[in-house]
Symmetry: C2
Subunit: 494 residues, 2 copies
């Protein structure tokens, strides 16, 4: 058999087990009765091992070797390259270490939940120290030239390095600090009218209708309630979004737009690549650029609300008739706050910078976990002008470190920055996007993103895709220009 076909067969097997695991996870977060947790954890553990065995098996290696030798088309070479990277990442780490980290991550996650609840950093500190140590070990096995962080972050964003992230943050830090200060000195924006008793079913159906209006194919996806919004998929034609419903009328809409951004990227991979590693978004940062595009650039635009105001009022007649401009501005308030996941578009990257700088220092051995709370609080004071009163709303707020995910956070900021960089190109090509948004015509925008980004799935390396789409490497200019002009206008600043 032709090597690429053999390789695809191996990948279909890996995919089947990966989808089983993804479905188990989705089910656990949307449907599973509490009694099911114990057996589910065991079953997930077993299937994860089977998936790993299948990926690193001699058969996969043989098929990959043959495919690398025989691949003739660009797509086939891309497939071989992507599998090689997956296989390398899966085999560079000794399975003893993988098992040890998985155990530590489970324990870490449990202890973190308890410690956060009890606001007791001392309870979490020892295992966090162990997690940092195992990440350093990991970095040693994965290999790096400049900084152990490079090896860690590359797992989440191919080609990323500590220095690269540092440059990204250096480019946006000071302008953001200044923009935040300016907005805080301006008159506050009225947003109290967004709060009310909005039926969850109404929020769900309204958001689902808007999402489909964007171009998300309803027959190839669904939206369910879950404690946290996320997007997962089992094929290009089965993309699941989750959402949660609270007292802010537009909160679930924005969660929905965010997850739909991820979902649109997944749904628009070529169907011929389905169930292979070429299908689906290429990296965390590029994925996040798409969720942010639909959530922030589109959903938090004046033009979007020109269109969406009427459907919103129709869905929620109890909402006072304040007009589209007031709803737009109410959804663009800037306010330094302690919790990352609740942060607005402008302050969000400051939260990430804090985490990036601290985790870099931790894996470099420059910051001891015992000093983390103090360092955390100092950076919040410096970047956001506020200081957490407790570690629960400070350095223990996020799940990531508790399971040893170090190097992940910067991909969120990359998404924010890149979204504007791509959007600037889209605008150059399409012209008056505001006119499109005002009439709720998302088709040309989606078509452009499909053509330039989504249809390429994971074929190109992230850095290569950015270059192809925007003609330059990731840089802060478009982001700063976009966010500064938008929020200065919102706050009526000169």
């Amino acid at each position: 058999m032709y090597g690429v076909e053999r390789l695809k067969d191996r990948m279909y097997e890996v995919n089947a087990m990966g989808v089983a695991l993804a479905l188990m996870d989705w089910d656990q977060q949307t449907n599973m009765p509490s009694g099911g947790a114990e057996a589910r954890a065991e079953q997930v553990g077993i299937l994860s091992t089977k998936l790993h065995e299948s990926l690193v098996s001699d058969q996969t290696r043989a098929a990959l070797g043959q495919a690398e030798a025989e691949a003739e088309s660009e797509d086939d070479r891309a497939l071989a390259r992507v599998v090689r990277r997956e296989l390398d990442l899966a085999t560079k780490l000794p399975s003893e270490l993988v098992g040890r980290k998985a155990l530590l991550a489970t324990q870490g996650h449990e202890l973190w939940m308890k410690a956060r609840k009890a606001n007791d950093y001392a309870m979490f500190r020892p295992i966090l120290g162990e997690l940092v140590e195992i990440c350093k070990e990991e970095a040693g096995h994965l290999g790096f030239t400049d900084h152990p962080y490079d090896a860690l972050t590359d797992q989440y964003e191919e080609g990323a390095t500590a220095a690269g992230w540092q440059a990204m943050f250096d480019g946006i830090r000071q302008p953001l600090v200044e923009l935040i200060e300016e907005t805080q000195l301006a008159s506050p924006i009225e947003d109290g009218f967004l709060v009310g008793q909005w039926p969850a079913e109404k929020q769900a159906s309204f958001t689902w209708a808007v999402i489909q209006k964007l171009g998300f194919r309803g027959e190839s996806g669904r939206q369910d309630a879950a404690p946290h919004p996320f997007c997962t998929n089992f094929s290009v034609n089965d993309v699941r979004l989750t959402n949660r419903y609270n007292e802010v009328v537009t909160s679930s809409l924005y969660s929905g737009l965010h997850e739909a951004g991820h979902g649109l990227y997944e749904q628009n991979s070529p169907a011929t690549w389905d169930r292979t590693p070429l299908a689906g978004g290429v990296s965390l940062g590029i994925h996040e650029s798409q969720s942010r595009t639909w959530e922030n650039i589109i959903g938090r635009s004046r033009a979007f609300w020109q269109w969406c105001y009427a459907p919103l009022r129709e869905a929620f007649p109890a909402l006072p008739d304040v007009g589209p401009e007031a709803v737009y501005k109410a959804n663009c308030t800037v306010k330094p706050s302690l919790i990352r996941v609740e942060a607005d578009e402008v302050t969000y990257n400051m939260h990430i910078m804090v985490r990036f700088e601290l985790e870099c220092d931790m894996v470099a051995g420059k910051l001891d976990v015992k000093d983390l709370p103090e360092a955390w609080n100092e950076k919040y004071r410096q970047y956001l002008g506020i200081v957490p009163e407790t570690d629960a709303v400070g350095c223990m707020q996020d799940v990531h470190w508790s399971s040893g995910s170090i190097g992940y956070f910067p991909t969120y900021s990359m998404g924010n920055v890149l979204s504007y960089q791509i959007w600037a190109c889209l605008q150059r090509d399409l012209g008056d996007t505001d006119a499109m948004l005002t009439r709720g015509d998302f088709a040309p925008i989606l078509a452009w993103l499909v053509e330039k980004v989504y249809r390429h799935g994971s074929k190109y390396k992230p850095t290569e895709l950015i270059q192809r789409v925007t003609g330059k490497p990731l840089g802060p200019e478009d982001y700063l220009a976009g966010i500064t002009s938008k929020y200065r206008a919102v706050y009526g600043l000169a």
Copy 2:
């Protein structure tokens, strides 16, 4: 490692893949968007193969051999016995035949759907012929002494034979024919008041409340809407029921009671056996006896409605206040009809007899598929006094044959017959069950069933379990006595 422990580890692996497949199936029938079907089918195919490989692997064989040699406790010997049977069933058939049948079953199912829709038996006939032939081949590989049907039906009900089923049906045929005739000559029972516009959510919440009142643990299960009611489970503490909602107010209640009967059996397997083949109901026939107990013996009793009438009226205030006796009788009407899945408790077994006799003759080569419609219609005339006007509502109504499931149908009748045989023992032990049902006190009944049946999971062979619980082999006496006295009373017959 001790052989039994090794064997359990192997079975945990098989279980993890089986649960992944069961979850994929549940998801497909409850949630999956239509676009997901194509990839799902491929993923299911791959995981099924992996499960089979894992079951028949050298590792499983070695562990089983060691376990058989070392097992000291009754439970350990039972585990080895059950796995041996599974392994034998999975290996007696050449994989070439298994693959050929799977393909034929898929094609058969598709052709059947088309042919049924078009009411065109000629379209279905050729592939049905092939399916019968492959079942004969299967029987040859599985081995049998008297009748090829024995080998086929044993796959669904361990120890069952054509002669055994024949004896069961011979015991009930004539009395049922007579009971049906008698009821049809009596004054018809009013049941029109059950029909109305009953909100699906209300039906769902009412049924779910009743099911939990029976003792079904809500934290270890759930109920979802699906085109067909079924029960599946992913562990003893995660048992999923499905239901569907129509214009008959008690229809979803009875589907719910039926599936909850299956579910109670699963939930009450010992937790220590979870994820091994010892957990869960032992055979199709014994499983069905439990669904029928809760649906028919309990749910279709006068005493049950003494209790359930008030909750029903509360849930559906638009229902006329006809009183519990009228609701009871309305749910116990007997009427010969063409469609098995809509049949009442008395006529149901006649539908099964028709199928059993025809499938026996087909695999014995006594009945050619070209003569099936005529033979079918003749038996319906003989047993139920009615003749299908089309094959779509005649010999093409069921899914089973279209995927080559021959030998399955009689387990439904076994469930009906056995439910009364077990219930007679329960009544002897517990005394006045009517008083319990009248006050909605299901706990003693469930406790008895757990003690006698459910807690044994799959430890004993079906025939052995029947003997242990009822002190005799399966026989028609209790069933005939129970059903005759009940329906004579309902219809006011002497």
